[in-house]
Symmetry: C2
């Protein structure tokens, strides 16, 4: 008897280099690794919960070429962001359906590390998977460390998966 | 087709409260959690690799009542430490045999976080599991943070499993 499936929450984000709607290298890597090494052939034993946190500041930066002249323009921006997030999640949900593993996916806006920990508290997954660029200490100062924060503060076990060295882009801060 | 089993390395240590030969609360918790939530019924899909790092300084402290008058006395101490480590590993190996999951276990002497990362490099497991007392930032200063170090530096994914709050002993620095 297997009982309830193990519920794995995964924090996923968009690529900084390929843009809309591609997942980041570390998100995609962490996802494929989890399927291959944890789920394996036991697809009925697990359920994947994908959370994408949209960072308002970063999204604003992406939209710097746009002109905001009325509250309606901001509403459009929000809708556009939401569409981007939905496309990102579609990638993971589609892969899960192909493989036959149950999943759910949703979007939150805010600070990634805080929203991840907040959603862990609310949803109570069995564990949280976070991809990481695996940067050195000097580079880390500039990019923040979502995985480190979650490993310390999330109220569940945390699996940190670093990006493979051979997958790192030219500028390792990109992902 | 399942292919090669997923090789999970687990860092395990002795309890600071119950002494010889009991595993620490966080080691035992991380082990049982891994069986229940990751391995589940798929025992042929995984292999567990148990590494116990004996810390020379701590062992010396335990033996403060002993008198060392000759090099032979130190040799005795080393043998005794080795026996303690073997008893600790016996606990995990016995449990694995009961469940029918393949395993290996070995002992290293040195600094826990450095030996864990060193052995990851040598053995190349698919991921490393480390239990953690889950202390607050003030308490952490005094006890070191093997799990944090490994999550940052180990050359493989790292699963950090905090001790459950209801399992914490009276003094949370104990384990």
């Amino acid at each position: 008897m297997e009982g309830e499936p193990t519920r794995i929450m995964m924090g996923v984000n968009e690529s900084t280099i390929k843009g809309y709607p591609h997942p980041s290298i570390s998100s995609r890597g962490a996802f494929e690794w989890t399927l291959q090494k944890i789920v394996r052939s036991n697809t009925s034993g697990f359920k994947l919960l994908f959370l994408h946190v949209q960072v308002p500041d970063e999204d604003g930066f992406d939209d710097m070429d746009s002109i905001y002249a009325s509250p309606e323009d901001f509403k459009d921006m929000k809708n556009r962001d939401r569409a981007r997030g939905a496309h990102l999640l579609e990638y993971f949900v589609t892969r899960c359906h192909e493989i036959g593993i149950p999943c759910e996916a949703w979007i939150k806006r805010g600070d990634a590390k805080e929203e991840l920990c907040h959603e862990v508290k609310r949803v109570q997954p069995d564990f949280l998977v976070v991809g990481s660029r695996g940067l050195g200490p000097f580079q880390r100062v500039f990019v923040g460390t979502v995985s480190e924060f979650c490993a310390k503060h999330a109220e569940c076990p945390v699996l940190t998966i670093k990006r493979r060295a051979d997958e790192a882009p030219q500028d390792p801060v990109d992902d």
